[in-house]
Structure formats: structure tokens, C-alpha cells
């Protein structure tokens, strides 16, 4: 009997170990967010876990291997955490069709109790659509949520009430962006359309079908828009079609970037554009359409790119990228990967 018990125990230990090994093999990082003070990074993965890393200790001169692991890992949702967003005090995470808020101060103290959890009003209660993108409209203090039910839900952050629903997309929404000055919300979806909404009237002001423009379209990849970002009068969008820079006033594409693979996230940074997607590199592009550099990184395919501009401390002004790997690459100098954080 004892021998049997021992063998059962050793087998279960082996299974546990292998599952742990496999866990890291199959992990994908989908979202990232920096704390308001800029000293911590939260990352969400496909198992529904959120890990909080201390950037200040990982970047300090006496950092060890341990400081490249999270100070806290917890399961936040039952489904993958596709989107993370930080407000001045809270970390908002979206997973399994609901949004949870965690106080940053509590997370730093390793307290994983959610401040609140809310769910938008979905029409059908049978299937829970995922939430792919979240962003905050600062002028209205509202949270804009784009999800799998093809609609954009707007929630007031103070009261928690879901104020309005923007309908118009014919397929699920991948990405969102807010133009504060003009009071517009931009959304890109699987249906290949980039819609511009006026947040007051809730009407779709413009609809750009990127795949219909010959110079951008890549029919071999599809028409979906997976990355969208705006800065004053300019917009970057890409996905199935090539990553392209658009001038919003004239609604015309000005530059097309010759990047192979579908881009999943792009940012404007100083005079450059940083873009990640399929492909084991971070692409640096100039506004004119040239690809200046492609910096190699660990994950084979990247999902998220985040720039830490919150802190005034120059030490923590880093770029972090995550993708189909349990490792998150940290760049202190944009030209090369400095080290990797491990989930």
C-alpha cells in the first residue's frame, strides 16, 4: 500500500512539474500597464493572471535574478486578460467579459482584493463576449470598452454606470483610441472599418474602410484592423492591411510602412513610430514611411508594447514588449534589449 501511495505521489508530482513547465511554454502576454508612479509594471497573460513587477528594483544597479520576477502574481479573471489600463490610482483589467479594478496601493502591498468588478450590459446573456480593448476618455472621466459584441460601451468611472453604447461595427472590436481635443473615439474592428465616433452624440462621424484603399490593402492577410493609435491630427492603423499613417483632417493615407506581418500595437514616440506585431522584433519607423530599424527581441510574436512615460525618474523610462512568451523584454535604450522580466 505504501509503495502504491508513493508511486501515485511521484506521478502526480511529475504531472504537476510538467504542467508548470508547459505553463510557461504556452504562456502569452496580452497586455501591459505601468503604475501611475512609474515604478511598477503590471502584465496580463492568457491564463487570466496578472503579474506585478517592480521596475525600480529590476533596474537598480544591484538587481539580481529575483528582481526580474514578479513581486506579485494572481489570477484576476477566468479568461485571458486582453486589456489593462491604469488610472491615477487604480489598475483596470478586462477579462472574461468583465472589468475589475485593483487599487495600485493595495497591489504594491500584495493585497489582491478587487476594488470593484463590473460588466457591461450585453444583449445576450448566453454568450459572454470578450473585452479586447479599454481606454479612458479623460475629459468625460469615462471608460470606453470595446468588445466582442461589436459594440462600444461607455462607463462613467465615478458612478460605475454604463452611460451609452455605440453601435455600428459589424464584427468585434479590436482596438480603441481617444482624441481628447476633438472629443472623438476611434475604434478598429474585425470588419476592417475604422469608425470615428463623437462621444457626446454617440454617432459615427466617419467610417474609413482601410482595406478598400489599394495602397494599404493586403488581401492575403485579411481586412481586420488590430492596431490603432492617434496623435493630434494623425492616426496609425494596421492589421490585415499594412500599417499606415493617416491624416485625419483630409482622411487620406499619407505613408504606408513596408512591414511584413500584421502589426498589433503601434505608438508615436518623439519623431518616430514604434510598432510590434508578428515578427520577432520591434520596428522603428519614420513618419515618411521608411523603416529605420528592427530591434530583435525574445518572443517570436509580439502582442503589446508599452512606454513608461509616467515617471520623471530617468532610470525607469523604459519600453517593454510582451508577446508569445513568458518573458517580457525591457529596453532602457531603444536600440537594444537590456534584459527580460520573467512571468
Amino acid at each position: 500500500l505504501q509503495r502504491k501511495l508513493r508511486s501515485i505521489w511521484s506521478i502526480s508530482l511529475l504531472i504537476l512539474l510538467s504542467r508548470y513547465k508547459d505553463r510557461h511554454l504556452h504562456m502569452s502576454v496580452f497586455s501591459q500597464s505601468f503604475s501611475p508612479c512609474g515604478r511598477f509594471l503590471a502584465a496580463g497573460n492568457n491564463y487570466g493572471e496578472i503579474a506585478v513587477f517592480s521596475l525600480s528594483s529590476a533596474l537598480s544597479p544591484d538587481a539580481t535574478d529575483l528582481s526580474q520576477t514578479p513581486i506579485l502574481t494572481f489570477t484576476a479573471h477566468e479568461g485571458p486578460v486582453f486589456s489593462l489600463f491604469s488610472t491615477d490610482s487604480h489598475l483596470l483589467s478586462a477579462g472574461n467579459g468583465e472589468i475589475s479594478a485593483w487599487s495600485w496601493a493595495e497591489l504594491i502591498k500584495r493585497n489582491t482584493k478587487a476594488a470593484w468588478t463590473r460588466r457591461p450590459n450585453y444583449k445576450s446573456s448566453l454568450e459572454i463576449p470578450e473585452i479586447n480593448a479599454m481606454t479612458v476618455n479623460p475629459t468625460e472621466n469615462s471608460l470606453v470598452i470595446g468588445g466582442g459584441d461589436n459594440n462600444i460601451h461607455i462607463m462613467d468611472l465615478e458612478s460605475g454606470v454604463f452611460k451609452s453604447v455605440l453601435q455600428g461595427h459589424t464584427d468585434y472590436i479590436h482596438c480603441l483610441s481617444v482624441r481628447e481635443r476633438e472629443g472623438e473615439i476611434l475604434s478598429g474592428g474585425e470588419d476592417g472599418a475604422v469608425r470615428i465616433w463623437d462621444h457626446r452624440t454617440g454617432q459615427s462621424v466617419h467610417c474609413i474602410e482601410v482595406y478598400k484603399y489599394e495602397e494599404c490593402a493586403r488581401p492575403q492577410y485579411g481586412k481586420w484592423i488590430s492596431c490603432l493609435t492617434t496623435e493630434s491630427d494623425w492616426m496609425l492603423c494596421g492589421g490585415g492591411p499594412s500599417l499606415s499613417l493617416w491624416h485625419l483632417r483630409s482622411m487620406s493615407p499619407t505613408s504606408i510602412f513596408p512591414l511584413s506581418g500584421c502589426q498589433r500595437q503601434a505608438n508615436f514616440y518623439q519623431d518616430m513610430i514604434l510598432s510590434v506585431g508578428e515578427g520577432q522584433c520591434v520596428s522603428h519607423c519614420l513618419l515618411g514611411g521608411e523603416v529605420k530599424a528592427q530591434i530583435p527581441c525574445t518572443p517570436h510574436s509580439l502582442n503589446t508594447l508599452a512606454l513608461n512615460l509616467n515617471s520623471t525618474d530617468n532610470r525607469v523610462r523604459v519600453l517593454t514588449v510582451g508577446g508569445s512568451s513568458h518573458q517580457i523584454d525591457v529596453f532602457t535604450n531603444l536600440s537594444y534589449r537590456t534584459f527580460s522580466l520573467s512571468f
Binding site: 494623425w234 491624416h247 483630409s250 499619407t254 505613408s255 513618419l287 515618411g288 514611411g289
Partner: protein
């Protein structure tokens, strides 16, 4: 208080023991030879030679003392020199820091300018694709003129057509009248 200074003296003497052993020994030997010379009972020549020897040792002691004083002066001056260099380097460091921050600001400004230029270029590219406004206006004017000319010609032709129509009408009606009169004349003549 006396004990402290004694300790210090002892410490200092132990520290400079390297050279001091020679000098110290020399002074002790001098003192011993002096007392021996004072109590000497030998010949005056011996006494004189001992005296000369003592003067020699004294000179040696003075020489080494002079050397140490010079070294001390040199050290002091070296210290001053180093202090000066130190303050100079510190100033250089702070000015370099300032220059670095200035350059950083410059780089930010240059990046912004470059970005604006690139945006301008991107827009210019798009605008260039559209035809020139003057050209289009000129083309429009030319087309307008052509249109006017053609309508003029059309009017003229139409007028001519009307005129010819009327003339033919008149001709035909006169012919018909003549026919009728001829017929009626024929009928009258037959009757």
C-alpha cells in the same frame, strides 16, 4: 594633556622611524661622544680629532634636517597644486553636466522639428498626387471658351437652318400657288 602629546610624539617618532633611526642614532652618538670628549683625558690631538668628528656629525644632522624641511615645503606646495586641480575638475564636471542637459534639450527640440518636417513631407506627398490648382483652372477656362465657341457655332447654324427652312417654305408655297393658277388657267381655257 602632557601624556597625550607624549603619545603623539612617540607615534610620530615610530612612524618616521625609517629615516629617523639614522638621525636619532647620530644625535645619540653625538651626545655620547660630546660627553666623552668633555670627560676625555687623552692627548689634545685626539681631543681635536674627536671635536672635528663631532662637528662633522653635527653638520650631517643639520643637512638632513634641511632636507626634511625642503621635502615638507614641497609636499605643502604639491597639496595646494592638487587642491587646485581638484576644484578645476569639479568645475569642469558641473559645466559638462550643464552642457549635457542643454544638448538633451536641443535634441528634443530637433526631434520635434524633424517630426514636423516629416509630417509636412507626408502631407506634401499626398497633395502632390493631386493635380495643380492653376493647371486645373486653366483647363477649366479653356474648356469654357471651347464650350462658348461651340454654342455660338450651334446658334449660327440653327439660325441659318431656320432661314433656309423659311426660304424653302416660301419657294414651295409660291410654286404651289403657281401650279394652282396654272391649273385653274388650264381649266378655264378648256372651258
Amino acid at each position: 594633556m602632557g601624556a597625550v602629546t607624549d603619545d603623539e610624539v612617540i607615534r610620530k617618532r615610530l612612524l618616521i622611524d625609517g629615516d629617523g633611526a639614522g638621525d636619532d642614532r647620530r644625535i645619540n652618538v653625538l651626545l655620547k661622544s660630546f660627553t666623552k670628549w668633555c670627560n676625555s683625558t687623552g692627548s689634545p690631538e685626539e681631543g681635536f680629532t674627536q671635536y672635528q668628528r663631532m662637528l662633522g656629525t653635527l653638520a650631517q644632522c643639520e643637512f638632513s634636517m634641511g632636507k626634511t624641511l625642503l621635502v615638507y615645503d614641497m609636499n605643502l606646495r604639491e597639496m595646494e597644486n592638487y587642491e587646485k586641480i581638484y576644484t578645476d575638475i569639479e568645475q569642469n564636471i558641473t559645466s559638462a553636466h550643464d552642457k549635457i542637459s542643454e544638448c538633451k534639450k536641443e535634441i528634443q527640440r530637433a526631434k520635434r522639428i524633424r517630426k514636423n518636417r516629416q509630417e509636412y513631407d507626408a502631407l506634401a506627398k499626398v497633395i502632390q498626387q493631386h493635380p495643380d490648382r492653376h493647371e486645373t483652372l486653366k483647363q477649366l477656362e479653356a474648356l469654357d471658351k471651347e464650350l462658348q465657341q461651340l454654342s455660338h457655332i450651334k446658334e449660327n447654324v440653327e439660325d441659318k437652318l431656320e432661314l433656309r427652312k423659311k426660304q424653302f417654305h416660301v419657294l414651295l408655297s409660291t410654286i404651289q400657288e403657281l401650279q394652282q393658277t396654272l391649273e385653274s388657267n388650264n381649266q378655264k381655257s378648256v372651258q
